[in-house]
Symmetry: C2
Subunit: 142 residues, 2 copies
């Protein structure tokens, strides 16, 4: 749906005022089972994660936090001086254990389930909000 | 931002396959203080709420629930045979006590804060998801 793409572009542009930011979309893996798909998705993602990265998974089972706590989390990650800070939205079946084990943290954006396309948009808005919180700036409404 | 409007239209159209649904946007109230604005916003909203309505506020301080629990909540509201089921997204300053006192329930979509425009989109997706859950249908991705 084009509206998700448009929304993500709006926030991507805003986030880039604060930090270099890149959104990478992996094609969905269609395998014989959900388990196998998750495993292959995890392999594809991990193959692209550079060493010295901080890896954060956006997962329903992750830690819930408000926007201020999330902003503080982002600051903590940045303070670790890792080369890359990577947030991953899972596919339709969630995350395989292999990627969960490599993750530095699992964060939940909501107890509710949202389509993984919409989660991209929700996350980008929240990351932009975190940037404004960390700089003590006024959030510019959309 | 047009993408929110487009997204809301996509889900509004889908929700209407299940129930009559109408989205009403109230113009923001600009008053001398946040407290006064909230009060006037509450008055404007309550003036439009018909008697025999079930009124649910979407509020950060509300009850968190997953999508299945939210769908069950919607079913419970519908079983009450009230004439209208009304969900309200608050303005920039949240809800005044006067409207909270009239509400049947406060529900939180997330611990995080989202712009109230984006909340409209997030809510519409979640209401569509609830409709599919209640009918035991497959969710059609966006």
């Amino acid at each position: 749906m084009p509206f998700v793409k448009e929304g993500v572009e709006v926030f991507t542009k805003r986030i880039k005022r604060y930090y270099p930011f890149k959104l990478v979309v992996f094609p969905a893996v269609k395998s014989k089972s959900a388990k196998q798909s998750k495993k292959l998705e995890a392999e594809n993602i991990l193959a692209k994660v550079p060493t010295h990265s901080c890896l954060v998974l956006l997962d329903e089972k992750g830690k819930s936090m408000d926007s201020i706590a999330f902003a503080n989390c982002v600051q903590t990650y940045l303070n670790q001086s890792k080369k890359h800070l990577i947030f991953v939205v899972g596919g339709a079946y969630g995350f395989d254990d292999s990627i969960k084990q490599k993750a530095n943290q699992l964060i939940s954006l909501s107890d509710m389930t949202f389509s993984h396309q919409l989660i991209r948009l929700i996350f980008c808005e929240q990351l932009y909000r975190a940037c404004t919180i960390l700089r003590g700036e006024k959030y510019h409404n959309i």
